[in-house]
Assembly symmetry: C2
């Protein structure tokens, strides 16, 4: 429920998580409604390591809807933001018309100010739009007193955002209807279901920004006959098998299907014309390393998955984290000292055995991986109760904005976020 | 027809070409007979640049079948060599039993000595086994007086060798029969059909040997559902379209289908479990460069294709060779001086325009490409009439053998071929 502030500025702040797909979403059947050509399944990452925080304030005194992302004002007129705002206002109006006695008093005619930040660098190449739109929709819903199914609204901001509306293990059911009303996210199991599961994000030092996923998947749908086959004939069976593996906590089945599905997604990118490459030589080395690591131990202890970029996301079980992390450290010697290489959940340092080194037998790639974020499955969006955490000040303007550096870098504007008050 | 030499050593020498597939062969339905899961189509490269030369001698005095490859004696008992020898002897016997008056007098009980060399480095990663087995089968057939359809024999040495039995544009029809008798190569058009077509082999300086094609395609057949779909549902239509493009000399259609089929083959390698990577960062850069090159000119002037390794084979028309070669030289600055960078058919040097440089806009990769072999479509296997060209001396032993260096390199044995006489 929004706080009442002076000058009738209502304010609410929420957080939402990043998710990583283990059965991949790639390709839309409807670009406007963001309806996918296949179902997908993801694990929600813990917000202690990766989250978006969004504050929404509403006030009679606001002249227009405004948005600040990571400290910089952005154009709120972009269609996907407008879809989310329109849908939440429509649901709020519907609720009021249904004469719900709990209906919120916030006037639907009030404009909103929205301020959103990530606690991880955008440069990390993690799908920040999923957490961002999930957080936006969840926070707007709180501000306007909308309850119930919200994943279909988040989906219209960014497809994979619908999966960030739940914690744990989440499926996005593609649905069949033309209006997309049955294209929804659903929790398969909560984050408490598989406490031993651990997730390591290996952030690859990439030279250039790859093809964006929106235009990439458009081209794939138009040109890849393998993608069509995958969506129609391969994914349905994989969804069943993946849900089963998650429910049974069968790590081997989960891991192998995760790797196969990541590879098949990247295969369809290569079958796109012109082809799209998201994996670079560091990604290839991670893939080879994981297979040789598992082969050395005679069991599947570790799995990789890659989204639309070179970063690897690793799934493993708690007991294997120190050994595997040490292997990563050996085959991708870090630039910084060892202590800063791993962020997030602490990982005890161990030694790598000579046998493992030899079994993997790859040429080390110094500084190929910038750092590791160590995390686990986590909950869905949450309301932040502490009013000192609001990102907007009492008159509805950001507490923090971006200050441009005098010197601009070759690749764009360098900026840092500075306190306004 | 074999020469008669002293001591009743019959000797015949032939040459055979390399071929490069534009609709790719990947996957066998029968490992022993080498029957493919789909048809394929290739261009035979000119032997002035790339060829295998093989001498076969037969003599009553030979105690056993023996084989020398590139100056080094090899084990002739390997199954695929034995298949070819057995098949040729069977056909020779059949011919004699059919009471053919032209039947050769060479006794079928005589043992053979075989000596074979390539005029290109094996390290170039060009499919030397295709030229090698085509040459072996063609030369054995000459030695034993066997005529007629030989591609089914060559196929049993190495699948793609059947396509090296013809010049120009060649299809390998997959066939349906269990015994493989209808799995044959056929010339679609001769090498004279499209005189403007040019071929550039961009030899990439690769660090390590990739997964071999025999084991690679086995794993793909076992694990890639995209490969199954490709073979059954995609390739049949592509064969029709490719033959049509070749017949009409429609470069745009030929080029685009060539690129798409190369990409799809590599996509199925990535869909293999564990995945197989043949393309490296240099290959990726060649692919990006070709697409941007074509986009700059607003037409498809250049196509790439990649086999089971990182080397690019480029198809273009004669008039575009100098400009494209200069672009390669710019984006892959050669280690050696410019004159030695291009081998084979001469390429006039030109300048690269500032507009093209900017339109391609990639970061140059120094020494990523070792050299270019400039060639065109060429004829099938030929008999070498000049007896001084025999690789075996009068008593049936190689004129040249390998001498091992005192110092061995880290990656294996360094050797050079030295004259024995």
């Amino acid at each position: 429920m929004p706080d009442d502030n002076m000058e009738n500025v209502h304010m609410v702040t929420c957080t939402a998580p990043v998710n990583i797909a283990v059965v991949k979403y790639w390709g839309k059947r409807d670009e406007d409604l963001i309806l996918p050509i296949n179902s997908s399944l993801s694990v929600t990452l813990h917000q202690d390591q990766l989250k978006t925080t969004t504050t929404v304030s509403t006030s009679k005194s606001f002249r227009e809807d405004r948005l600040w992302l990571n400290g910089k004002e952005e154009d709120i007129s972009q269609p996907r933001l407008q879809s989310c705002l329109r849908e939440i206002r429509r649901l709020a109006r519907k609720r009021r018309n249904d004469d719900d006695p709990d209906s919120d008093s916030t006037s639907l005619s009030h404009k909103v100010h929205i301020c959103s930040i990530n606690n991880f660098p955008t440069a990390a190449g993690l799908a920040s739009s999923a957490a961002g739109f999930a957080c936006l929709v969840y926070t707007l819903a709180q501000a306007f007193g909308v309850e119930g199914e919200l994943s279909a609204v988040a989906r219209q901001g960014s497809g994979s955002a619908c999966r960030s509306m739940y914690g744990g293990f989440v499926q996005w059911i593609m649905g069949q209807q033309l209006d997309g009303k049955d294209s929804l996210a659903q929790q398969v199991e909560p984050e408490t279901h598989w406490p031993e599961l651990r997730i390591l994000v290996l952030v690859v030092s990439a030279e250039r920004k790859p093809v964006g996923s929106t235009s990439g998947m458009q081209t794939s749908v138009q040109t890849s006959c393998l993608l069509k086959h995958r969506a129609e004939s391969v994914v349905p069976g994989r969804m069943v098998a993946m849900i089963d593996a998650v429910r049974r906590k069968d790590f081997t089945a989960f891991a192998e299907l995760t790797m196969k599905d990541s590879n098949q997604f990247h295969a369809t990118c290569l079958d796109t014309y012109p082809p799209i490459f998201y994996l670079n030589s560091v990604s290839h080395q991670v893939i080879n390393m994981v297979h040789r690591y598992n082969q050395h131990y005679g069991e599947t202890r570790v799995a990789y998955t890659f989204d639309a970029g070179p970063n690897a996301v690793i799934f493993t079980l708690q007991q294997h984290v120190p050994d595997f992390t040490q292997a990563v450290r050996h085959f991708f010697p870090p630039e910084t000292n060892g202590g800063e290489f791993v962020k997030g959940l602490p990982v005890p340092q161990t030694d790598i055995s000579a046998e493992l080194k030899q079994a993997i037998g790859l040429e080390p790639m110094p500084t190929g991986i910038s750092y590791i974020i160590s995390t686990k499955a986590g909950p869905g969006p949450c309301v932040v109760k502490d009013p000192t955490q609001h990102l907007l000040g009492p008159i509805g303007l950001p507490k923090y904005t971006v200050r441009h550096h005098a010197q601009e870098g070759a690749n764009g504007v360098n900026h840092k976020i500075v306190a306004n008050m």
